[in-house]
Symmetry: D2
Subunit: 142 residues, 4 copies
């Protein structure tokens, strides 16, 4: 498997008075997709945070918004792993609707100790799961 896919409805609450997606809501949706990705890997965020004291804050984010999405549209989020670093994880996102790509994003998250808010290496079991599910990080998006 080379990508993680999630479907989302663009809800009333995600849109603004101009009738289209509010971009911070888009990023809230994206964060939920990444949350589902951790669960898919076998490491629900709630357990990482509460059980292990490991956070996964975003340290870099680049977005390109290409087409507006309207209230009621169904969106497909495709997440690819671009690079697995020692403490970092590079993700590439593509979000499409019926009329094509709506937006794309590059995101770097890092493993941190929530006690010290400092980067730590990915736990071994989590790294193993990442490597098993995403054996060949996509070069083009690296």
């Amino acid at each position: 498997m080379e990508q993680f896919v999630a479907e989302r409805l663009l809800r009333f609450s995600d849109c603004d008075p101009s009738g289209i997606a509010y971009f911070p809501s888009y990023l809230n949706l994206l964060n939920g997709v990444v949350e589902d990705f951790w669960e898919f890997l076998g490491f629900p965020l709630a357990q990482l945070i509460k059980g292990r004291g490991v956070g996964t804050p975003t340290v870099q984010l680049e977005c390109r918004f290409e087409r507006p999405a309207l209230f009621g549209e169904r969106l497909t989020f495709v997440l690819r792993v671009a690079k697995i670093g020692r403490s970092s994880l590079h993700l590439a996102h593509r979000i499409t609707g019926a009329d094509g790509v709506k937006w794309s994003a590059r995101q770097v998250v890092v493993a941190t100790s929530l006690r010290e808010h400092r980067a730590i290496p990915w736990p071994d079991d989590l790294r193993a799961s990442l490597q098993r599910h995403f054996p060949t990080p996509s070069v083009e998006s690296a």
Copy 2:
């Protein structure tokens, strides 16, 4: 005047279970600062949208999150105009707390017709206000 400055409290609602700022909430705060910036220029967003049918969607965004911000911190948002294009506006943001730079962002917004969701030139009076308040777009952040 070369920059627009706004103060914000990092509220309970902006933070997550790991105790630090939730990044989509950060972008919600940023959007509010840009809203205040339009008002400062004499063009409140509500009038632009409802009165003129002009939207200002974000088309590009790059963020670098350097230090976590904790619930209760006071943050200073500094907005600089990096480039005034025909339909676009390039903004550079720096957000600092007591311990230094928390994060920075580059944002490109474009003037659009809300009827056709298509780029249009900035209205003349709005462009004039931009140029009057920000005569020398900062080169280093262009």
Copy 3:
């Protein structure tokens, strides 16, 4: 059928620095459930609003929060129709987790013309769908 049921995960973004659900996020989730309820009835909100100019604002809301819900919990939202008025609709919500009822709510929404922000009777086809799916509004929750 006497009730509409939806499942929700209590996400990272729904919780606050004290580690439990942030109540405005709870209401955001509730609003999404009601959105799904309209779709279930055959009247997606996007079509009601954009196609017919009909809004469904909330005019009354009463909530009782009984048990905290923690980040990562799965919640079941049960919606019952308590009363179908001329312009109003009375809904009773119960939200449960693994340990029992988390909270409950009574909500009154009204059909409005979005042009005049004024109450209007429910459109006939929408009322018919409501009555077909919820023939006997629950008395105890009326």
Copy 4:
């Protein structure tokens, strides 16, 4: 002093595709006003939560939404203390715009131990501050 007053701008992000305030955003604003109220009393929520392990969750909420508020409106939030209980605090809120009362709310919050998520008496110094600033809880709203 018998009431606590705060001003708020109804922002782009607080409004929905029908152009009016999204009610969960209203409650987010209300929560921010209550946050300011704690700070006014000398007990910033961040210190209560992080320093003392005391939370102030909402256990009851009743809202009546009377008039829609539009994007760009300035709202005045008036908070009155209706009753100071052993562990509870009853608040009455009235929110007005240029055209009169927009909505009102009754809210009950309780002091809780964040370790056990259980009600505790208000800390003595906090109770003293409440009683000093709000010596005569308003009867009509009790």
